[in-house]
């Protein structure tokens, strides 16, 4: 049995080191090709006509004038007359033309009539007395969910939970099947309870979930010695990928589709395109070299991607490229749900947490959304939680780097910080005091890790000299403060397959259908392979981003490092051992006595018996050695040391607040982070730096601002949807937890964790500085001044 375990520190050549990112030279020189940069022979350009209203029905579409325009080659109706539209900017008609200007002219010539309907774009606190159930579903509602790509299992679940308000006839079933409604949904509707009396009754925008209670909450609060109550939250923000969503589709023949797509999940696209296109997934090829950001918003082909393929087929298979316009990218291509809560939390005088109560709400757009995981990190023994999801017309939500965790951190860590202030405790001491609540599993290492991380973070921030009781560090109108927060994430490696070949000329390649979304996946694979072969990282040729290669999971949820490193490690160990077997006779040794180091294959402990790498590979024969590497849940269970789950991290922020202008400046951020075995120190640090910077950005600036009157997004550009710039970035200090107690856990993903605590730690630092809580992010001057005024008036 091959030894797939990660090498001990003394046997690592590249793992844990600081290898330069292998694709940086392509990126800095402009050579790196993104989907947006790709031009195919005879390519046509797509443009999409989008709905101007937040809630409306498509009454009629007349494309006749556009069809006659010179240069217009194809028109695809995406949402036909009669369809209900639930957010402004939703796609209605796609035009393919010889160039973008012609396509834009054609959009202006298309006549679409919309019937406006009442909309809601607010996510303000729900009024008292909203109902617990949203009531039975009408046929239109199910149709809307299908139109809006709500996942099948979610539709089935809702049909089961709420029942339906219409009787299903055999004709309905026949029609549904013809329209491609999944069988699972038809069956669920046939089995559902029918409530004809509910037909035609207006539905509430508010979906109240059942109250979750653990323990005797009233008793626990009556016994708590200190109770803090507060209001906290984070608004809807957007992904704002710099490369907008989009793709190029072409049909080399009527059965085969070739797609270039800006995506986080190359291997997952064929199945998602094949279903709506009614073709075999095996006949769909997807390719992508580089992707300009995803952050959770680019896992599917999207309806506009399917329409691009459809219009390409209509024009004889010619390539058609459609990339979203910037305003559409911000309006419709992904948003992070909002979450707000009124929290009551109680503790003993010594700081031990005893009870939590929260009434939370938020919106994920048309599907409402769920409650973030509150209370976060700490399993407070007694809890009462209720959540109301607001279904509104702001556009759909998507996974945003660390889904739901930043919101949970803001609600929880800010509430705990207020409680610590009420206890007159240093919040670091208060959080440390409760670390035994992190897990009920005695083998969970996170309690210990958080304690170690707090010690290091406190040193790096000089916390003890900077922290002061609230509001007691003013110099003129400048208030200074520090704040902290902590976070966790899973991050176990996803399923991943690869083929690694060692060629007779000594070259090495690896083929894997993964993608590098900017996290350094190429470098991770190269480091793992090169480390085992005793070669430099740039000796490994990488073939990724294509469905011609073995499938590998989508890059989301921090699952990629564990997945690709596990499959690569298995492949490279098998290939190396096969090479050892070929080379052993020449070195008069057994294969198991050989090692690959510094570009040679040598006998362990006898450097005189060695072959240079190329000489060794010459003994392979004519056919290269190829080994397949595979990782999945079962493989991961058999080798728990390759990849693992459950990281802990601590962040601290130092701010200055100008109490006259309300402007918050972050002066310093410290991040101390565990991610198991660090494959590359530089990549890990860069990931955490990026997380800190995104944290500053959403803490201070970001918000999807909706106009209540028109229902459209007011800041769908990059001037008024403000992202942090270079001037907003303070001193950043990153410390990765490595060595004993960390490395042996195996590889754990790092994409999500470092972005979670930024909002909470900066909000806490502002509260420490000005002596009052600014309830909601972003911490803009108006909110800071309002909080200061309220404090002055109190």
């Amino acid at each position: 049995m091959a030894d797939y375990q990660w090498p001990d520190p003394e046997n690592r050549t590249l793992i844990g080191d600081r290898t330069l990112r292998v694709d940086s030279p392509d990126k800095v020189s402009g050579r790196a090709r993104y989907t947006y940069d790709t031009k195919r022979p005879g390519m046509l350009y797509g443009k999409v006509l989008r709905a101007p209203y937040a809630h409306c029905q498509v009454v009629s579409i007349d494309t006749s004038a556009a069809e006659k325009m010179p240069g217009v080659k194809g028109i695809q109706i995406i949402q036909k007359a009669g369809t209900n539209i639930h957010w402004a900017g939703d796609d209605v008609v796609l035009v393919a033309a010889v160039d973008e200007g012609t396509a834009e002219d054609a959009l202006r010539a298309i006549k679409v009539k919309f019937q406006k309907q009442a909309h809601l774009v607010s996510d303000a606190e729900p009024p008292a007395g909203v109902g617990e159930s949203q009531g039975p579903l009408s046929m239109d509602e199910i149709g809307d969910m299908l139109d809006n790509q709500v996942p099948e299992r979610q539709i089935v679940q809702q049909i089961g939970q709420y029942g339906i308000s219409f009787k299903i006839t055999e004709d309905d079933v026949k029609e549904a099947k013809e329209e491609g409604v999944p069988d699972g949904i038809i069956e669920a509707a046939q089995k559902a309870t029918v409530h004809p009396e509910a037909a035609g009754k207006p539905k509430s925008n508010y979906q109240k979930a059942a109250v979750q209670t653990t323990g005797d909450v009233d008793k626990a609060f009556s016994e708590a010695e200190v109770v803090s109550e507060g209001l906290y939250g984070a608004p809807v923000i957007v992904h704002c990928c710099l490369e907008s969503h989009g793709s190029i589709s072409e049909w080399p023949d009527p059965e085969h589709l070739f797609v270039h797509m800006s995506t986080q999940g190359v291997s997952g696209i064929p199945g998602q395109m094949a279903e709506p296109l009614k073709m075999d997934a095996a006949n769909v090829r997807v390719h992508q070299d580089h992707v300009g950001g995803g952050f959770g918003s680019k896992f599917g082909p999207d309806r506009w991607g399917v329409a691009t393929a459809e219009v390409s087929k209509k024009v004889g298979g010619k390539p058609v490229r459609y990339m979203l316009e910037r305003d559409a990218e911000l309006k419709v291509a992904g948003a992070r749900p909002s979450a707000y809560a009124r929290v009551k939390v109680g503790a003993k005088k010594d700081g031990s947490l005893v009870a939590w109560q929260s009434k939370s709400w938020g919106t994920g757009g048309p599907s409402g959304g769920g409650m973030p995981p509150i209370p976060y990190v700490f399993r407070i023994p007694v809890q009462r939680k209720e959540h109301t999801a607001i279904r509104n017309n702001i556009g759909p939500a998507r996974a945003w780097r660390a889904p739901n965790h930043p919101q949970a951190a803001v609600i929880t860590m800010c509430a705990l910080d207020d409680l610590a202030a009420k206890l007159n405790m240093d919040p670091v001491e208060f959080l440390r005091k409760n670390l035994d609540l992190v897990s009920t599993n005695p083998n969970d290492p996170r309690s210990r890790m958080y304690a170690e991380e707090f010690t290091i973070a406190s040193d790096l921030m000089d916390w003890k000299s900077k922290w002061h009781p609230r509001g007691q560090s003013m110099e003129g109108h400048i208030a200074r403060g520090v704040g902290t927060s902590m976070h966790t994430w899973g991050g176990r490696g996803h399923a991943s397959d690869c083929d690694l070949s060692i060629h007779p000329d000594g070259s090495v390649d690896i083929k894997m259908g993964t993608q590098d979304i900017g996290t350094g996946t190429r470098t991770t694979i190269a480091v793992v392979a090169a480390d085992a072969l005793g070669l430099p990282a740039n000796a490994i040729k990488l073939y990724i981003g294509d469905t011609l290669y073995p499938p590998s999971g989508g890059s989301g949820g921090s699952t990629t490092p564990g997945g690709v490193s596990s499959s690569t490690r298995r492949a490279v160990v098998d290939a190396r051992d096969a090479l050892f077997a070929k080379v052993a006779p020449a070195l008069n040794a057994k294969p198991e006595d050989l090692e690959a180091k510094n570009g040679v294959i040598r006998v362990k402990g006898d450097a005189s018996r060695s072959l240079a790498w190329k000489e060794a590979c010459a003994r392979i024969g004519a056919t290269p050695i190829t080994a397949h590497g595979h990782n999945d849940a079962i493989a991961a269970k058999n080798h728990p040391d390759l990849t693992n789950s459950g990281v802990g991290g601590v962040q601290m922020a130092e701010v200055e607040v100008d109490t006259e202008t309300g402007i918050v400046k972050v002066k310093k951020m410290v991040a101390v982070q565990d991610c198991g075995l660090v494959i590359d120190q530089r990549l890990a640090e860069s990931s955490v730096m990026g997380g800190l910077i995104m944290g500053i950005s959403y803490a201070l600036f970001e918000e999807k601002v909706m106009d209540p009157a028109t229902g459209i997004m007011l800041n769908a550009d990059m001037e008024f949807y403000r992202l942090a710039g270079l001037n907003d970035i303070p001193e950043l200090v990153v410390h990765m937890m490595t060595g004993k107690g960390y490395d042996e856990r195996g590889v754990i993903g790092l994409g999500e964790p470092p972005v979670i605590s930024g909002g909470a730690s900066i909000s806490n630092a502002v509260a420490n500085a000005i002596g009052v809580r600014v309830p909601f992010l972003p911490l803009t001057p108006d909110k800071v001044l309002a909080a200061l005024n309220q404090k002055a008036g109190a």
Partner: protein, 212 residues
């Protein structure tokens, strides 16, 4: 696109012949006429008492100097410099992100000053020396600024990177010994989403020290 509201009619050729140029069109025309050499016989119209040239609306011949080479193309006057570079000359280092002069991803040099290529018409860029990020590497060797980006891990997804590299070049070309404030100011027109600012700051600081 038309909704319930009516669409403004497109100007017809007849209106152009009769000199029916809107004020906005006139401003556009007059800038172009002043800024570009005559490369195609334009229509002449009377506007505000003066004879001015009108290009388009169809394609007109244009000529550019890009990265030291003369390049010709037939383009509509409404085509931006960015789209001409990317779609016509296949120079895709400059990225289209905001498409309205907010993010800097399309930064190129025009006669030694940085411009947002998305916010300039190609027709206006004729007669100027245009430099794109593709011109910086010579014989496969990265420019010192580019090497500093590589060494300081200053890109993640990399979509903003070419724009930042060009903005850095513009700062250092103008001021070989910039202070920290000069660097920040020179790069304040560029935006990164992944959060690579620490690397970018380290890269330009090193490049400045090396006299790149």
């Amino acid at each position: 696109m038309s909704t319930d509201d009516s669409i403004p009619p497109k100007p017809t050729p007849a209106q152009e012949e009769s000199g029916g140029v809107s004020r906005r069109d006139f401003l556009k025309i007059s800038t172009i006429a002043a800024a570009v050499p005559v490369v195609a016989a334009p229509t002449t119209v009377l506007a505000a008492g003066e004879q001015v040239h009108v290009y388009g609306p169809g394609k007109v011949a244009m000529e550019f100097t890009i990265n030291g080479s003369k390049m010709k193309a037939m383009l509509e006057p409404r085509v931006t410099l960015l789209d001409a570079l990317r779609d016509t000359f296949d120079l895709t280092g400059a990225k289209r992100v905001c498409d309205k002069g907010e993010c800097g991803a399309c930064t190129v040099m025009l006669d030694d000053r940085p411009v947002y290529a998305c916010s300039m018409l190609a027709i206006e860029a004729q007669g100027s020396k245009i430099l794109t990020v593709e011109s910086l590497s010579q014989e496969g060797k990265l420019h010192p600024i580019q090497q500093a980006f590589v060494d300081n891990d200053a890109s993640q997804c990399g979509f903003c990177t070419p724009g930042f590299v060009m903005a850095c070049k513009a700062v250092l070309d103008k001021n070989p010994n910039p202070g920290a404030e000069d660097l920040l100011h020179g790069l304040s027109g560029n935006i990164c989403r992944c959060g690579t600012y620490r690397g970018i700051r380290a890269a330009i600081t090193r490049a400045a020290q090396e006299g790149a």
